[in-house]
């Protein structure tokens, strides 16, 4: 499987994603500079975390106009798998590839901590290897991770089962007290209607080995790899 990690000026988790895929999972992965046109064949593109363009104006607002984004939008619209992590999630929302927006944390503080997440849906490439309702322990680190969508959009997200991850307590309850940033309905990650684009605030790439305290992040990347493998078999 061929993975591409897009590097914007100010990205800072691209190397972590690269290491996770290459070193921990032995995958074929290429880093792609934002100023280049998207060239080559890829099965999954990842927009990593960081502070693209210094978060000027709004997080992700400028990165969405980087030259490579033409190719990313085309790839996504034709059904290619796209994963946006943290700043990558913000960029996908700004680009209109995912619904809603990420605004300043309700507590105004940058949050940097481990959280529990409940997997809400499993009929996506990103979560198919994880049981419904299962918990993941992943780190978050962001200042603008408060998920917002208007009432109509939120209703649509629920109806189409596009909410893939929620912040929960260790028992799996999405209580307000464990909502780290004020996100509506404790939402930590959503996908598009076609279920091939997924954005999340937590960092699966930073929970990919025992050394880092959790291997739960691998389950998301393994899901994607398994989904791709199954597709290859179907086409063979």
């Amino acid at each position: 499987m061929r993975w591409g990690v897009i590097v914007f000026p100010g990205s800072c988790d691209d190397q972590d994603v690269f290491n996770c895929l290459k070193r921990e999972m032995g995958q074929k992965v290429k880093r792609l500079w934002h100023k280049d046109a998207l060239a080559g064949q890829f099965d999954c593109l990842i927009l990593p975390g960081g502070f693209s363009y210094g978060d000027y104006l709004r997080c992700g607002a400028m990165a969405r106009f980087s030259p490579i984004m033409h190719g990313v939008v085309k790839f996504a619209r034709s059904g290619g798998l796209v994963l946006g992590i943290c700043n990558g999630f913000q960029i996908l929302c700004e680009a209109g590839l995912l619904p809603g927006a990420l605004v300043r944390n309700v507590g105004l503080q940058f949050v940097c901590q481990q959280v529990y997440l409940r997997v809400e849906e499993t009929d996506t490439a990103f979560t198919r290897g994880i049981g419904k309702g299962q918990l993941l322990r992943l780190p978050i680190k962001h200042g603008e991770g408060c998920y917002y969508a208007d009432a109509l959009t939120l209703e649509r997200l629920r109806k189409n089962r596009q909410i893939l991850l929620r912040y929960v307590d260790p028992k799996g309850k999405p209580l307000p007290s464990v909502n780290p940033n004020g996100s509506l309905e404790n939402i930590a990650g959503v996908c598009n209607e076609a279920r091939n684009i997924f954005g999340l605030m937590p960092h699966p790439e930073d929970a990919c080995s025992k050394l880092l305290g959790s291997e739960d992040g691998l389950r998301i990347f393994s899901s994607i790899a398994a989904h791709h493998g199954a597709g290859e078999k179907r086409h063979a």
Partner: protein, 94 residues
């Protein structure tokens, strides 16, 4: 033409900064203050053949980049060379 653009959060979008500012004002004794909302203010010069053309271009810029329609509204003022300020722009309500 000199353009002044005002970007504000839509109703219903949380504004924790506004809330913090409001609390500070209360602490300072301005208890009568309510509903503080913080926005953004931009100024720019634009070379346009007419006022209508400038308006069209500014609207485009706001929709594309300067404001995020999911969370923000905007309005703008066009200031002619004469420094006379006129109000233009739009407020999308939803």
């Amino acid at each position: 033409m000199r353009i002044k653009i005002f970007i504000s959060l839509k109703n219903g979008v949380l504004d924790p900064q506004g809330k913090a500012i409001e609390r500070s004002l209360h602490t300072l004794g301005y208890g009568e203050v309510q509903g503080v909302r913080m926005g953004k203010y931009l100024e720019l010069d634009i070379d346009a053949p007419s006022r209508a053309a400038a308006e069209r271009r500014i609207r485009e810029m706001c929709d594309k980049l300067l404001a995020n329609p999911v969370i923000e509204d905007y309005r703008f003022e066009i200031q002619q060379e004469s420094q006379k300020s006129e109000v233009g722009g739009q407020r999308s309500e939803n």
